[in-house]
């Protein structure tokens, strides 16, 4: 059958008025074609709409009580229907079923009719008692299940609340971890600043000690076209010196300042690198070989970070010793 023919049958299928053959064809097509299923759903919606368009009828009195009685009866029936299954699960009942039947000549003696009738009656009474007991047990179990379900629902609620609290606590921990991380960063910055300050204090103490010695010389290291002012302090009786620099311009990334001591032969020797602080100040201690008398001047250049063995450009400041 063509798809269009199936589509034409869908309204009638939704109303359940097709004959058996047509119904079978449509159902086969619906299984294979989800698009047809979607079209059918629309017609089925219309059919339900028809169901809502019926005259209101006053419900018969007592219908709810009858429904609840039927419901209760269904539940009890379901409980009694489980009885044979429970009995069948016991091994001794299965064993009894598998025993061979008594021979004819024995059956008459072993089971005389009056006695068998008495036993049958007794068995019926016993079975009835067992059923009543099991029904009672079943009701007790239903109550217990109901109580357990209530407990599960309560525990579920508690679990949800605890999970919510846990989520909140996790957020607070994350916030605190962020603060700790920031504090650690602040601490590292402060430590770095403290270290720099301590180095400056140490260097200035060296300069102060030099200035206290007899014969110490102080020389200006003059800058060219720069606001830099610097001084070279050294004592002829020692091989130590200090350069104090002010108004140093920040060096570009990958660059540093380097100090040179220039021999009397005009050859510059590296005397260490230094970087200015945030205020453009620097204190640089140096130890030179030989004595101060062996040197004619000091100079400052800008070099790649780590310093150079020889100056790579013209000095930005020079001072005679």
């Amino acid at each position: 059958m063509e798809r269009q023919e199936i589509i034409d049958l869908l309204p009638a299928y939704a109303l359940d008025v097709l004959d058996a053959d047509e119904q079978q064809v449509v159902e086969a097509a619906l299984t294979a074609d989800p698009g047809l299923r979607a079209m059918l759903d629309e017609y089925s919606g219309l059919a339900v709409g028809l169901a809502t368009n019926v005259a209101a009828v006053e419900p018969p009195s007592g219908h709810r009580q009858r429904m609840m009685a039927r419901l209760q009866g269904t539940t009890l029936l379901a409980a009694t229907q489980t009885l044979p299954q429970q009995l069948a699960s016991r091994d001794y009942y299965r064993a009894a079923e598998t025993q061979p039947p008594p021979r004819p000549d024995e059956r008459g003696l072993a089971n005389p009719r009056p006695l068998r009738t008495i036993f049958s009656f007794a068995a019926l009474v016993a079975a009835a008692l067992v059923i009543v007991a099991l029904l009672g047990w079943n009701i007790a179990l239903q109550n217990e299940i109901g109580n357990n379900n209530t407990s599960v629902a309560n525990l579920s609620g508690q679990l949800t609340r605890i999970q919510a609290q846990l989520g909140q606590a996790k957020q607070e921990v994350a916030g605190l971890q962020g603060q700790i991380t920031q504090a650690k960063g602040d601490n590292a910055t402060l430590t770095s600043q403290l270290t720099a300050a301590q180095q400056s204090v140490s260097s200035l103490q060296g300069a102060n000690e030099l200035l206290a010695q007899r014969g110490t010389v102080v020389r200006e290291v003059a800058a060219k076209d720069q606001p830099l002012t610097s001084q070279f302090i050294a004592n002829p009786n020692s091989n130590k010196g200090v350069v104090l620099a002010y108004n140093l311009a920040p060096v570009p990334s990958g660059k540093t300042y380097e100090l040179w001591v220039i021999g009397k032969d005009g050859k510059p020797l590296p005397a260490g690198t230094f970087d200015p602080d945030a205020k453009g100040q620097a204190v640089h201690n140096l130890t030179f070989s030989g004595s101060l008398a062996d040197y004619a001047a000091v100079g400052i250049t800008v070099e790649p970070t780590g310093g150079s063995p020889t100056p790579s450009g013209a000095p930005i400041a020079v001072g005679n010793i």
């Binding site: 309204p11 004959d19 629309e42 339900v48 709810r64 269904t74 599960v152």
Partner: protein, 210 residues
């Protein structure tokens, strides 16, 4: 716990939970309470449909209660991914009534709705209840009712008649043709065009039935 504010689908899920005793959904303290709530919500509507189809209040009550008992015993029959609970429930009641009609080889509805000569004894439009006839909380049913009522009013009499016979009478197309004394093809066409027309009218006005 008060389950009266629970949605139909939530109550149906509780019934499934009771039946399977699995985890994940809270089970009612009184396991039958979800069913009782659904029964209170929809018995009136289901009963009206069954009476309309079977024309017998006693059988109608019997059929509707069987449907609810079936729901209690096998709540897995409702698949909420396929639509609303009320829609599914009314469909089940409808199918159950059709089974009942066809099983007894009688069509009690015909004698109530339409005379054998084809005259309408009871115009369905006049019997459509007003907006306040159903339970107030069933706003969805009221919406369905209103949308379909509008579409029904715009069908021709003959179209409306075959649709009524088909849906409420539980007759096959061939039986309708025989009953009306009209060719089978004509009946098929009227049913098809009637529903297509209703569907198109609802779509054109932005109304939806689900």
């Amino acid at each position: 716990m008060d389950y009266s504010t629970f949605k139909d689908e939530e109550l149906a899920a509780m019934l499934r939970q009771r039946a399977t005793q699995g985890g994940g959904v809270a089970v009612a303290e009184n396991p039958a309470e979800p069913l009782a709530l659904l029964y209170d919500r929809y018995f009136r509507q289901c009963f009206a449909l069954a009476v309309r189809m079977l024309a017998d209040a006693g059988r109608a009550e019997e059929v509707v209660q069987e449907v609810f008992l079936k729901l209690w015993q096998a709540p897995q029959g409702f698949d909420q991914t396929r639509g609303k609970f009320a829609s599914w429930l009314l469909s089940v009641v409808h199918h159950r009534c059709i089974d009942e009609i066809r099983k007894n080889k009688r069509n009690l509805t015909i004698s109530h709705s339409f005379g054998p000569d084809g005259e309408e004894g009871d115009d369905p439009i006049n019997r459509i209840p007003d907006e306040h006839s159903g339970p107030e909380e069933l706003s969805w049913l009221n919406q369905q009712r209103g949308a379909v009522r509008q579409a029904l009013t715009r069908l021709t009499d003959v179209q409306r008649r075959v649709i009524e016979l088909a849906y409420f009478g539980g007759m096959t197309q061939a039986e309708i043709a025989a009953h009306l004394g009209e060719p089978l093809g004509t009946v098929k066409t009227r049913i098809r065009l009637g529903l297509q027309k209703m569907k198109a009218m609802l779509e054109a006005e932005g109304l939806e039935v689900v």
